[in-house]
């Protein structure tokens, strides 16, 4: 082992890597548990890459093949149901973990100088993850997939000025058709993976550069924990548990498949999007058709977009945190929005 290392070091120059591993530490304090969330998200993303690549061996895009190929994956291919179910469950959990990771980073004010760019790449990664989920949802081409995509793209279409063009761009025409399926497929397996890997590389590089941030006003308990091997071992325990959870979920609640999409059938009565779109979905359902001179859904869609934008720009808005002072207003606003979104999500879940 040592000889192999020496041989490689001689040719590749591994010493900086060893140096980095020895240097990297993670602070210890009462919130340090949240430092595991990023690593968990990374693990689930790797699961997505692996299972996604396997699904690609049998998935065939196209209106006359997509549904049939997914049925074949779930029904005929040995362990196809397992791979497919893990891809779905891991997608759902991945986005949940990312959401909590973002929320805790927000509440720990980890967006403070000099980590603004780290924050922005993180928010962009969350956008990419949502796009992964939205585009993946259409791929099986069953009735729920079809109508969920119809509604979802129509929401994009209500935006003032750019809406119409955005709608055409997403659908590849006026309606959801095979052209939409082709674009969503290309997005899901080529564009988004490249975007995600690029952003992730930058995100991790910056985390490396700056080290972990300690929230203002929190006292560290003792010396920081060495990343290698202590922290990584804890990570590994979490990852193993996650893998077991995924396997259990896939076995107990495998991914289903509805009737094939039919543009000339009514939408199924129990139609719902993926859980991470429950909040905007419920909002759209409850908002009145007209509010003053505006149409309800326009206000709803623009409202969510503005919220997302404010969230992305928070490092530049929170001037107090930038001066290492406590900024209660931002903490409280964070909780209010969080509770609002969780409330809407639970409400949609129960109905």
């Amino acid at each position: 082992m040592d000889r192999l290392w020496a041989w490689l070091d001689d040719r590749v120059g591994l010493e900086p890597v060893r140096h980095l591993m020895a240097q990297k530490t993670v602070p210890r304090h009462r919130h340090s548990i949240f430092y595991y969330l990023g690593g968990m998200a990374l693990f689930l993303f790797i699961i997505q890459l692996g299972t996604g690549l396997l699904l690609l061996l049998y998935y065939e895009p196209g209106v006359s093949t997509a549904y049939e190929s997914v049925r074949r994956i779930s029904g005929e291919i040995p362990f196809g149901w397992l791979i497919r179910s893990i891809h779905r469950w891991s997608a759902d959990i991945f986005i949940g973990v990312l959401a909590v990771h973002m929320f805790t980073a927000y509440q720990m004010k980890a967006y403070r100088r000099p980590r603004e760019v780290t924050w922005l790449t993180g928010v962009a990664l969350f956008g990419v993850a949502l796009a992964f989920g939205f585009s993946g949802y259409l791929l099986p081409w069953d009735d729920i997939a079809y109508f969920a995509t119809s509604v979802g793209t129509q929401v994009a279409g209500v935006f003032p000025l750019v809406g119409k063009a955005l709608l055409q761009l997403m659908r590849g025409g006026e309606d959801v058709t095979g052209a939409t399926l082709a674009r969503f497929f290309a997005l899901h397996v080529v564009v988004l993976p490249f975007a995600a890997l690029g952003l992730l590389g930058l995100h991790l590089l910056l985390v490396q550069r700056h080290g972990m941030s300690v929230p203002p006003g929190v006292t560290e308990k003792g010396r920081p924990r060495p990343f290698f091997p202590d922290f990584l071992m804890h990570d590994l325990v979490g990852w193993t548990l996650a893998l077991a959870l995924l396997a259990a979920l896939a076995a107990l609640l495998p991914a289903g498949l509805g009737p094939k999409a039919d543009p000339f059938a009514s939408a199924p009565a129990d139609i719902k999007p993926e859980w991470y779109f429950y909040a905007p979905f419920q909002q759209l359902k409850m908002i009145p058709a007209h509010i003053g001179p505006f149409e309800g859904e326009v206000l709803g869609a623009v409202g969510f977009a503005v919220l997302g934008l404010l969230f992305a720009l928070v490092p530049f808005l929170d001037r107090r945190a930038a001066r290492e002072e406590s900024s209660r207003a931002f903490s409280i606003a964070g909780w209010v929005v969080f509770i609002y979104l969780v409330g809407l999500t639970c409400y949609a879940w129960l109905h």
Binding site: V151, Q154, L169, G172, G173, P263, A265, A267, K285, G296
Partner: protein
């Protein structure tokens, strides 16, 4: 050293005016190149409109025997779904089946005698008027013609 790889320095004899002109020219050609790439790509990504699949004349939507009073059926009218309704008081009406909210396909609910959109619980009465939920406008209505026991719907005579 030849003319080209001479280091640029304050002592550079190239007159300032000529230098900024060259910079400008370089910027212009960079912009031109970018535009020559972006323009076709943007147009490639937006497909040309397909010939509007307008149904020519009347479409046979159903047989009268298919739909008892108080029922409805979604059928293709051109490239879009439409809904044919046989009302409890024995009238025939047809509307676009695309919800005016976010374009889900509506369905007939015989338990409420309404046209219902499952996507966000939008409701329309049997004249197509939006009566509850988020839909902001009524459903556009088409003309229905009965010929013997066949029900025809024409898209051209659309009103509303």
């Amino acid at each position: 050293m030849d003319e080209h790889d001479r280091p640029l320095s304050p002592a550079d004899p190239t007159p300032a005016g000529r230098r900024s002109f060259l910079d400008w020219l370089l910027g212009l050609s960079a912009f031109g190149t970018a535009a020559a790439i972006v323009y076709p790509v943007v147009h490639f990504v937006f497909p040309p409109p397909r010939p509007k699949g307008r149904a020519k004349g009347a479409v046979l939507a159903a047989q009268t025997s298919e739909l008892a009073p108080g029922s409805g059926k979604v059928f293709p009218l051109g490239t879009r779904p439409a809904i044919l309704v046989h009302t409890p008081d024995d009238k025939w009406r047809a509307f676009t089946a695309k919800c005016t909210h976010l374009s889900c396909t509506v369905t007939y609910r015989d338990d409420m005698n309404m046209i219902w959109c499952p996507c966000h619980d939008g409701r329309f009465d049997l004249t197509g008027k939006n009566v509850a939920g988020p839909p902001p406008r009524p459903l556009a209505e088409f003309t229905v013609v009965l010929k013997g026991d066949e029900v025809y719907v024409t898209e051209e005579a659309e009103r509303g």
